[in-house]
Each structure stands twice: as structure tokens, then as C-alpha cells.
Symmetry: C2
Subunit: 332 residues, 2 copies
Amino acid sequence: MRITFSLLLALIALPCSAWNCLAQAPYAIAIHGGAGDLPDGKGQAARMEQLTKLLNQGEKMLADGAAGLDVVETIIKQMEDSELFNAGRGCVLNEQGEHELDASIMDGKSLACGAVAGSKTTRYPISLARKVMTETRHVMLSGQGADQFSKLMGLEQAGPEHFVTPEQVKRLQRWKAKQSTSSLNSYPTPKEDPGIYYGTVGCVALDKQGNLAAGTSTGGLVGKRWGRIGDSPVIGAGTYADNKSCAVSGTGIGEDFIRFHVASDIASRMKYAGKSLAVATDETIAQLPEDCGGVICVDSKGNVHAKHNTPAMSLALANSQGVRQIQLAPPK
Amino acid sequence: MRITFSLLLALIALPCSAWNCLAQAPYAIAIHGGAGDLPDGKGQAARMEQLTKLLNQGEKMLADGAAGLDVVETIIKQMEDSELFNAGRGCVLNEQGEHELDASIMDGKSLACGAVAGSKTTRYPISLARKVMTETRHVMLSGQGADQFSKLMGLEQAGPEHFVTPEQVKRLQRWKAKQSTSSLNSYPTPKEDPGIYYGTVGCVALDKQGNLAAGTSTGGLVGKRWGRIGDSPVIGAGTYADNKSCAVSGTGIGEDFIRFHVASDIASRMKYAGKSLAVATDETIAQLPEDCGGVICVDSKGNVHAKHNTPAMSLALANSQGVRQIQLAPPK
């Protein structure tokens, strides 16, 4: 009888304790909409509004117990649909005036990851990256092959009329007018072209189950050519997540982010040098060339951090410990 | 007069000292021709012969003062021309029976790097990767765009008659016969298909000027589809070089090499945890799934090291301190 009673108590206590634990478990989210120069006044208001809306939504999902991967995909899909950011609809155009979309996603629990480079017909490249992660043994698909796989998965397709906006057509024309035809160097830095805004988007999250997730999506660099691939679809460069360290999404000059394997470098400084999220991140960004870009990060304790070395970066950060920050440029 | 004499002495002494220093400076080289299972008997002899010839050549170049990048490119070009390895001519074929070539190269002095994914018309993908590094501000070019750039650079072009060998056509047929049509998982592990041999090639070097260089070239995985990109063109995964730590080239299941950002992880363990080349390398390989692949590495002191967790790996290592090792499988 005593044993039965104890067993009953244990059966009641276990789920209650698990529930309490989950209710109090930390969560954290960070969203970015690119680093570079500040957009003009009208663009600023619209961005702040969008970032606020997305942060509220992501925070609520996490507070309600959603998986980090679902939050990352949900937030990025909306940014891919928004003309405000350089991802999905409204992305920058390549030298031929076409859209070529890159994205990646990573699960910090299993280190599973997926990426696509040069997708042209998939409405939500981040969802395609997730399908690569979950439905294939591959990590990275590219070009027409990536979109063939997308159709096989039944993902929503879209054409140029969806992705290409008049504003980006004009932007490409302005960019082309500035280029010397002999130049093999197909992108300007913010200093060379103060109007440029690297609008890559990304989201990182710690969910209440203790799992980290990271995702990034972009149209790349205006006027890019020769099938150029930047850091956004490169796991370890633009995107990385590992429950043992942190989740990172980056934005900026992708070539430097690949060269310094920025996202995994932050994780490695935490794992191998015992640095905190903030110190590891700041050290990694400090070694980049100036005006290069920035990152958002969360760690497994729910710390959130962002760092950029450009004049501005669109950021929204929040966690269950009360941090809440939305900004386009650092406070003066 | 005294000043003039001292000056004369200094002018003579300086170059002599520099020359002595250079003559005695350490150098090191490592070459690989893929990890997996042992090739059949005939293949073994041919591979040993080729690896010996290449090691002799690379060692002589370094002893004579050649730059590490030149050695890496020279060695890999010959492996791209050899039918023995899965790179350039004789590479494995994708699901459509086509060759799609990936390569990358990195300069440890400047962290400059270049990569190509899915090249089809360039005879030497490693040379194309080097042109991406030196002639553009990009790091990674893909597909038709990469070959357009190749033609612009005047690199030697080649067609299927050069790349596709009867042996690889047969191999694809054997592979296809084993596949279930419903499978989205397009490559077997060595355990599932004991005949498989991941024949990616790579070379890493420390030159007498103290500079590290790394390069990797591959046809990827037999039967790959959807524009799959593996680790070979991903800087930080299949290839990495940094004078502050080491130069690495990897081979194996590229998806895992990307997930664990293998090449840069070895460098990070050296830089942030103070591990030696051998310990850092062994730790990184120890975390990979079994039967996954292997790496070759050199550090800035001239140490050479290789580690694999597959039954076999084609290796050739040498340095100025007298190390010399050529093997297809670990000694019994």
C-alpha cells in the first residue's frame, strides 16, 4: 500500500515538476535585417515596425513552448515576403537583373543543417533549406537542382513577378552606372557606396527545451555575377548552431565571413577558450576588416548578444530574463 | 671610412644571413588521394606509384624555395589529370551521368581563398579556384557562372570526353542498380557499399618562407543530385589555411565535414585551446561519425599529421625534419 501511494505521488510529481521546469526555462531570440548604412527615414520607420512585430511574435511562440527551429523559420519566412529586406521578395538583383537566393538553417541539438544557394523559384528559401536538412542526407543544394528538389517537396513556387521589385531594378541600374566595365570586383563597400545596405535577414533562438537554432536568408550582393555564393548558405560562416555553445546568424561582406568562418569561430572561442558569448562574439568581429558586417547570437543559458562594425545594423533582441532591444543604429 | 666599412659588412652579412636562414627553414608537405576503402590490388600499385612521384616532386619544389600555393596547385593539377582519383578526369558522375567539379584553395599568410562548385568545362578546377582567389573579390563561384569566369581568365577548357571515363560510367550504373527509386538519400557509406572509395584529392604545404597553403579538389559523391555541394569547396570545412595555426585538406562524407566545420575546427583547437597539431586533429576526427573520412595537416613549425576513421586513406607526407610516409591503409 505504501509503495503504491509513493508510486502515485511520483507519477503526479514527475510531470508537474517537468511542467514547472519548462514554464520557468529560459528562452531567447534575436532577429536581424542586415548590417550596413542606415536606410532613409521612411525605411527606418517601416523597419522598426516590422522588427517589433516579429520580435513580439517570436517571443510569444518561444514563451508558449514552440521549437526554436519553428520560430526561426516562421520569422524568416515573413522577412522573405517583406520588400524591406534583401531576402525573398525585394532581394537585390544579380548582374543580369535576376534574383538568386541563398539560405541556411541549423539545429543546435543534432547539428543537422541544410542550405541552398542560387534558388530562383522557391518562395521561401529558408523552408527549402529546412527540407534539405530534414529530407535528404545532403547539407547544401545549388542552382536548378535545389529548385527541382523544392518542387519534389511540394514547396510553394514563385516567379520573377513575385521576387523582383521596381526599387531593386532601379538600384541595380544605379549600381551598374557606377561600375567600370573592366572591374572584376563586383561589389562596393559602404564607404565606396554609402547608399548600400546589406539587408540579409537572420534569426537565432533558444527554446524552452534548451535547444538552439539559427537561420539566415539573403539575395546576396547587388550586381553579383558568375554564380557567386556568399556566407549565408555556408554553415560555419553565416549560420551556426550547437547546443554546446551558441547559435549565430551573420550579415555583411560574405567573403570575409567565409574567410574568418565567423559563425563557428564564435562557437569555437566559447568551447575551446572558455569565453562568454559576448566576449567570444566581440573578439571574432574585432578581427574582421572595418565596415564588414555583424552578427546576432544566443547561447544555451539564454544570453543574447549582437555586434557589428558597420554604421548600422537592424536588430531585435529579447529573452525571458527581461532583455528587450530593437534598433537600426547603435544608440548615440 | 669606418662607417663605410661597417655599412659594407652589413650589406654583405644581411643577404647571407637571410639566405642561410632560408636554406635551413623548415618545410613540409602532405598529399591525399581520398579516404574510404582500399582500392583493388592493381589500383593500389598505381596509387602508390603516383603518390610517390608527387611527393618527390612537391618536396623538391619546397626544398628549392617554391611558394606553398604553387606546390599545392602543381600537385593537385596532376591528380586532376589522373584517372586514379576522384577529381578532374576520372571523377565520379552525378545522377545524370555528368561531371560536376568542386575545388578550393587558401593562402595561410593573407587568409585569401577561392572556391568553385559545379564547374563543368574547366580542365583544372584547382587553378580556377586560385583565379577566384587572386582575380576577384569573391570567394566562391558556382555552376555556369564559374566556367564563364574561367573562360574570361583564359584557363584551359575541356569537355565530357576528357572528364568522363568508361570506368566511372560503369560505376554509376552499378550504383544506380542498388538505389531504391524512392530514396532521397543519394549516397552510401563504405559499410553499405564496400566498393565505394572517396577519391577526393588534396595537398597542404609549409614553404620555406613560413607560409601555409591548402587545396582540395573533387568530383563529389557518385550519383549526387540537385546540385549537391560537399565540403571540398567550403572554406573552413574541407580546406583551411592560417599561418597562425595550420593548413588542412579533408576528404570523406562532405556533409559531416561541413556540419563539424572540420578544417577550421582543427585550427581553432590549436589557436584557442593551445593543442598541438596532432592532438587537435585527432580530437576533431574523433567527434565525427564512424567511417566518415580523414584529413592531412601541416603546421607552421613543419609538423605533418594525418588522421582518418575509414579503413583506408591514400596519404603521402614528408618534411625537412626527415618524416617520410606513403600509405594507402594504416600499417598493420
